[in-house]
Symmetry: C2
Subunit: 627 residues, 2 copies
């Protein structure tokens, strides 16, 4: 984005206060992280999924009635099995792409550009949903504690989104410390909760089963449990797996040996994620937690999150512990959203450099961040959150489509990679990634079929549109490149050159423009548009004195329009000498105070706009200052 220095000067103080001082390109450095600091950065997104994954399973099972809730744990176990297939599959990606194996790169390199664009569309959608789901889920944790804030969930979410946006425009670094403290605090809090809830009874401490309200009990209905129901609950729970691809994207951030350290971190993350997720699902099922969702008790009532209910059950409604757990969860959800604020602009900038998105997205802003991408993300997320009323339950069904498209393409790309490389043990590697690709592909189909009607169709429409836009943008840039290439270019001698000076009147402001026209070409003439015929004679007299040898063309304007006759005349000059270049010199005088501009016709801008439609015309402004 080109920056207007004038605007920057006027606004510099304001801008610096909000965004901080500009950073020079040299200040960009690549941090290398030890595993203990890399884990929080790359794991916050995945670990935060535990805040809504079990909840999504419970909500879907409840459609059949409370008796279906005993399927929570079996479905969670199935998801964890799938999770490990994906984790193991990605450890191979980490080794193969030590420069960073983002899905777009892997798909593009191995499967071709179209699959790469499909992956890109899917992942960009996924990033938008990561922010939307994480923020609305974070707000739900807060409103589960401060229940009187529940009617303001959309407003709170929008405020959080724009707070994150501002922080990222300032250049919030993914610094280890920023992520490490809240992430480890969350991990400890959740592992502690799960440990007390699961192991407590072995030591004589019994969680208190969940007590639904009378109102809730009254609503209970019972339907038969169908395969579709189970698959829908499974598909919704797959939201637990979002974010586990993050490590593969950022291998370069690890200390050497990068790939090995990244793989270890990936496995550690998988282990923590599995434990917390299974623990929550176990407690939810064993102590009869029921989740009715937003709107079940009126739009304004909000819905207590499953994390909040788990805290109640395990700690016997003790408010301080519940508060600590909810705030720890809310903070890690904000961090998860923040990772998308780094990833979306980064992928956009890669796509822009490859010519698939507008190139402004590849420009580093003042603070060394891709400001345009950050703003674009914030706008998309805001629209989505408002459209879905800040309701995390309605956003979750959209979430998994993009993620599982990316998983499938990434693993399939790896299969192709191994088939081409045929290095040591390639058969084993093909099998691992093959199982990953097939398993996630099947789950993707399940998600599309089962979640499509619940809202996932939006994503199924958006991704192809994005792909179409990528190709249109690319076609344009290719066309531009083809037209601008200097290959086989024969420099043409500059055509003969006619200069026209627009002369509204003869005065000191016009004379320099006349001199300029004489200077730049021998073929020059002055043009006067006759708005008020009464003034013409005076103009002619003055011209005799000041115009020298320059011919003066007077053009009638019966309708008192300045621009129409001028455009006509320039077109005619072009038609008379099609090979001539025409320079139109516009004398312009510059006033000193802002309000003085209102006292002049300011037609130069409109003239420029009008002449911009005629080819072979160069527009030149010669200004004259009044003071």
């Amino acid at each position: 984005m080109g920056k207007n220095s004038q605007v920057r000067l006027d606004w510099s103080l304001v801008r610096r206060l909000i965004f901080g001082s500009p950073l020079s390109t040299e200040q960009m450095a690549h941090q290398r992280l030890p595993k203990i600091l890399a884990l929080p950065i790359f794991a916050s997104d995945a670990l935060s999924s535990t805040a809504y994954a079990t909840q999504a399973i419970l909500l879907n099972l409840l459609i059949a009635g409370p008796h279906a809730l005993h399927l929570t744990l079996p479905i969670s176990v199935a998801i964890v099995v799938l999770l490990w297939i994906v984790v193991i599959s990605y450890t191979q990606t980490v080794h193969a792409y030590s420069q960073g194996g983002g899905t777009y790169i892997v798909s593009r390199e191995n499967l071709g550009i179209n699959w790469g664009l499909l992956a890109a569309g899917a992942i960009l959608t996924d990033y938008v949903l990561t922010v939307a789901v994480s923020i609305t889920s974070g707000v739900q944790q807060i409103t589960s504690f401060f229940t009187n804030l529940a009617p303001y969930q959309t407003e709170l979410a929008i405020a959080a989104i724009w707070f994150l946006t501002l922080a990222n425009l300032r250049g919030a670094k993914e610094s280890g410390a920023l992520f490490a403290i809240p992430t480890y605090f969350f991990v400890l809090t959740m592992l502690g909760t799960v440990a007390v809830g699961v192991l407590g009874p072995l030591f004589g401490y019994h969680p208190r089963p969940y007590q639904p309200s009378a109102q809730q009990t009254a609503q209970q209905v019972a339907h038969a449990i169908s395969l579709g129901l189970i698959l829908r609950a499974f598909a919704s729970g797959c939201a637990a797996m979002t974010g586990i691809e993050a490590v593969a994207d950022g291998v370069q951030a690890f200390r050497p040996p990068e790939s090995k350290n990244a793989a270890h971190t990936l496995v550690a993350m998988g282990a923590i994620l599995s434990t917390i997720f299974l623990g929550i699902s176990y407690i939810a099922q064993k102590y009869h937690i029921v989740y009715y969702g937003h709107g079940a008790h009126g739009e304004e009532a909000g819905a207590e999150s499953v994390i909040s209910m788990v805290a109640r059950v395990v700690f016997h409604d003790e408010p301080i512990l519940r508060g600590v757990i909810l705030f720890a969860t809310a903070i890690i959800l904000v961090l998860a959203a923040n990772t998308a604020y780094a990833d979306f602009p980064r992928l956009s900038s890669i796509l822009a450099r490859h010519g698939y998105m507008p190139r402004q997205l590849a420009n580093l802003g003042d603070r060394l961040v891709f400001s345009n991408g950050i703003i674009l993300l914030a706008v998309f997320v805001s629209v989505l959150v408002v459209a879905f009323g800040g309701n995390v339950d309605r956003l979750i069904p959209l979430y998994a489509v993009g993620v599982f498209t990316a998983f499938t393409l990434s693993q399939a790309g790896m299969v192709k990679h191994w088939l081409q490389q045929r290095g040591k043990g390639w058969q084993w590697k093909v099998m691992v990634n093959g199982i990953g690709a097939i398993a996630t592909g099947i789950v993707l189909l399940v998600i599309i079929v089962e979640k499509g009607p619940q809202g996932a169709w939006v994503v199924l429409v958006v991704i192809p549109i994005l792909m179409w836009m990528f190709t249109q943008v690319n076609r344009h840039y290719q066309k531009v490149r083809a037209r601008l290439t200097l290959k086989d270019y024969e420099p043409q001698p500059l055509p003969p050159h006619t200069v026209l000076v627009l002369v509204p009147d003869v005065h000191r402001g016009v004379v320099p423009a006349l001199e300029y026209a004489r200077e730049i070409s021998k073929d020059h003439r002055a043009v006067h548009i006759e708005i008020n015929p009464a003034d013409t004679q005076r103009l002619k007299d003055r011209w005799e004195q000041w115009g020298g040898d320059m011919p003066l063309v007077i053009i009638e304007s019966p309708y008192r329009s300045l621009i129409g006759p001028l455009v006509e005349y320039v077109k005619q000059v072009r038609a008379d000498h099609p090979r001539h270049l025409v320079t139109v010199v516009l004398p312009e005088f510059v006033v000193t105070k802002w309000w003085e501009r209102a006292l002049h016709n300011n037609s130069a801008f409109l003239i420029k706009l009008a002449l911009a439609n005629i080819r072979g015309v160069v527009i030149t402004n010669v200004r004259y200052y009044l003071d």
Copy 2:
């Protein structure tokens, strides 16, 4: 106003539908009118005052209680005496200024420019109030008949204002027929009503005295009648005199002998106006009409106009006759407003030509009307009407200040005129205009003192502000003229000329700009702002092939800003060679589809803005078309 031909082409159909086809300057012709057609054009404003003058007296007297209403007729008689003083006084103006003796002209010529500007400010304010009062009064007549429209008086007034504005932008001519039919119809209707009401009892037909509602009777209070009360009622009733200066402004519209015909018309108008006004006041007083004003029965209830009550009284509540009277009144009020739509832009254009208002106000639009002045008037009136809730009772107190300032200045100017001329019978003429000036001057003081607190202070604040603005505008134009004059101007030889070409990259779109720079000066260089240092080497290689002998200057941009370093460099070039003229050539390529613009940085516009702050810099655009 400069017109953008591009915009006009795109919108031409829409514009023609709304405003009509443009008219050529030749189509402007001056109509000469017989007295029978001139009277309605010049009298509609004055005659329509009868719609609200008696009403204003009644409303002010009621403050003391219904017993004060017997002062209505005496006060009306006093106003009519004043009216004739002014009419006779103006007949002398008509003879002295056969070219048109508008107050601004008369005051300016005889009393000097500052008094002229005071007159101009007063009259412009008066025109705005003429529209506001006439339209709101017209709406009151309509809502007196359709009482359920009363809550929408502001909306109706705004709709009427913008209808009039559109009609005038189309160039509604003050054609005799348009004005004649409704004006004479109104005159006949009102004279008929007055005749039946006043003379009917002589022939045995008795009007039915007004019956106030029980609610109204209950509100009646009684206070002592004070001199202040009488003066306030008198000052309010002076609204009857608004518009009688119109004939003097338009002497040129009469057939020869212009002055004599104009004077006859003025006297005829005074006679009709006096008759109708006194007749209404007589009927109102005799048959106990009480006017409580807007808001007396709740803001939404509206207030029945005095004209409506007079019609009830005279015609025994016969609805059709009352409807005819009210509509005739509403239409003449709209015509009165319309005269201000001709007068305000005309006076503005005169002031603009004299250099006291922005010169755009002197431009004739497509339809040979002063479009900018019409729009300015409509905006002022709309603001006023909304601010005063479309309530004519609240607008009336503002009205008389401007009118009486103009009367006083105009008559005083005439006194000065006769004193300077000393023609035949000048002593008599000085006396007539002197009495006019003193009488209207005293009334002006009464109005300021008595109506000031009721809202007239707004006008007392606005008029000096307008005068201050006139002088500021004039000072600016004088400064411009002084700076632009060619008197004593020594043409300077054009200073040496340095050309800089901005080169973001070397491609086909840039080469013509390089050629152009070589063509217009021998002192040329290319400038590249190094946003991304990684690309610089490639640029240098290409430059060796395509740059020829032109030096390439590479400027570092540590903060990745394009504009800041460019501006710095241009300033430095200017500082190194203070006498050099610097031309900055901006190569720009033009895309073919609108959405393609979003795919490019479009920095040329911002660059131009930034460079516009550096003196001695000429900006030249060389465009390259992609198709």
